[in-house]
Amino acid sequence: MTRQSPKVGVYGFTGCAGDQLMILNCEDQLVDLFGATEIRSFVMAKSDNHEGELDVAFIEGSISTEEQLKKLKEIRERAKVVIAIGTCASHGGPQAMKLGEGGWEERYRKVYGNAKITISKAFEAQPIDAFVKVDMYIPGCPIDKGEFLAAVSKLVAGRHPYLYKFPVCTECKWKENPCILYAGKFCGGPLTKAGCGAVCPSYGLPCVGCWGPTDDLNVSSEYKLLKEKGYNPDEILRKLRKFGGAKVAQLLKDVENKGAKA
């Protein structure tokens, strides 16, 4: 092949490092991955890292300090393509479930007490696209090996990666599961991007939405449906906001405002 190996960087911010771990967990393809790309920086995997121009930067985790923000912007400047990996980088993750609700300082105090963090000023966790342009999202909590490798393989070949845009429900039907939501219980499948293979409903468990929201959401209908099924509004908000990020939060706000007017 004549194509040059793309220069790649893998970075982690506020998250559990699960997505980076998942990359390292691609046992059978790991050698190919390191062969087909030139991994310039991947602190979790190796010690000699070189920060310079990048073709692709994979970024895990949400942004929650000034220092992270500075680094994120700096990566964006030297990377041709920025890809958010994992739901935290893509949508904020569970640490952003109260995004925009206020009271962040109070929650911070509950966790850290009055200890002063001196390294860097902290703020409420947000997805990376709140600060920089993101070219592509590979969500998941953690990401799916198959989805990640398929996307990387396409990038290496100079082609456009394709990820499912439809919701978990579609894969759930491919797995031939009876619908939990139809049965009157909570399931976040219709609001959640597919890619995980509908693992949770395949084990009889509701989808809690860990792949983050799809492009095409009908939050208001799901909200109404759950209310009809007897869930109380607080519980619905909590469930839908767990991995929903800013997007679902905003849509829920619209639902509430409409409800208040009606």
Binding site: M1, S153, A157, F166, C169, K173, E176, N177, D215
Partner: protein
């Protein structure tokens, strides 16, 4: 040709058809009814009204590889399709397959579908309608073609319709189990069974005149009301025996020039489906997508093929979390009101 078989002989017969191919039948595990691989009749549940996914999954799997490619060309992946005998297929699902046959085998023959269809025998079985079945309204409650064999359960024995030479070949595996001697009582029993089946339907819908009602209701606010409810989850499409749309994607090996071209089920309920180059979407609104789905089933298909693309299986009724289905949509359109 119609033959007669003792009920207790079915098991022996099904053991013998495994000579032709792998046996598949309806099974029920933890409330999940699916067509699955089985070894014998004892593992099947012939009472279940419907499987979650219709038998289309065998002829056109949810996701499969069409061919492998490299820099020199491509190789079709057809040889690895197993020979299968599907037992227990209900009339609605056979009608569904007949519709798939029209779409995939006539004007443009789809080699992947054709290969699977060729290697699949359909052994139909009569059924007991439940509260969601409505095949009587779509005229698909009985079936006269499309199957290789069809078994009508008349309590003491089976009447067995032979629908193809392949079906006849199966009979020849155990000819001693079948009799050609049919008498007056068999006819009476069968007529009785038809009458009884017709009386079992609890979902009463009238689909006559639907093309006109769709035409009249094209701009009806009912579509917006339904669109507000629809979750765009795609379930209705996946479970419907006549939904046949797919997407195609190439996969590539990491750092190589070889890969596969895959095909997977798609749905016109998805925004992505009607997205075209340049970012324009000609069905951006959920209500437009929903209207397309139902217009296709109950109006456009009738115009083209003289029958609806709904076989009355009741799967949309048993799946849609917000109760959008053939019954509620046709009723809403007629009554100009979306029911609760």
């Amino acid at each position: 040709m119609i033959l007669k078989m003792k009920k207790e002989d079915l098991s022996t017969f099904l053991d013998s058809v495994k000579e032709w191919g792998e046996l598949r039948g309806p099974t029920k595990k933890e409330g999940r009814v699916t067509y699955s691989r089985v070894d014998s009749l004892s593992q099947m549940d012939l009472k279940a009204a419907r499987t979650i996914i219709p038998p289309k999954k065998f002829l056109y799997p949810p996701r499969f590889t069409m061919f492998d490619y490299d820099q020199d060309g491509y190789t079709e992946r057809l040889g690895d399709v197993p020979k299968r005998v599907l037992f227990g297929i209900h009339p609605c699902d056979i009608h569904g397959i007949l519709i798939m046959d029209k779409l995939f085998l006539e004007t443009y023959k789809d080699p992947y579908y054709a290969e699977r269809r060729e290697k699949t025998l359909l052994l139909g079985h009569s059924c007991i309608p439940d509260d969601k079945c409505m095949c009587i309204a779509t005229n698909t409650d009985f079936v006269a073609e499309g199957f290789d064999l069809f078994f009508s359960d008349l309590k003491m024995f089976y009447l067995v319709w032979v629908g193809s030479t392949k079906g006849h070949d199966l009979i020849r595996l155990k000819p001693e189990l079948f009799s050609r001697e049919l008498d007056k009582n068999d006819i009476l029993n069968y007529t009785e069974y038809r009458k009884w089946k017709n009386s079992q339907f609890k979902t009463k819908i009238d689909l006559t005149g639907m093309p006109d009602i769709f035409e009249l209701g094209y701009g009806s606010p009912v579509w917006d009301q339904l669109g507000d409810k629809c979750l765009s989850c795609g379930q209705c499409t996946m479970v419907c025996p006549t939904c046949n749309c797919y997407n195609v994607v190439d996969e590539v090996e990491l750092g190589a020039l070889e890969g596969t071209r895959d095909r997977f089920w798609d749905s016109c309920m998805f925004r992505e489906y009607s997205l075209v180059a340049g970012g324009h979407n000609f069905r951006d609104k959920r209500s437009d997508r929903l209207r397309l789905w139902y217009t296709h089933k109950l109006q456009a298909f009738i115009g083209e093929f003289g029958k609806p693309a709904c076989v009355g299986c009741g799967r949309c009724v048993e799946t849609c979390p917000v109760e959008i289905n053939v019954v509620t949509v046709s009723t809403a359109l007629k009554e100009q009101e979306v029911g609760k």
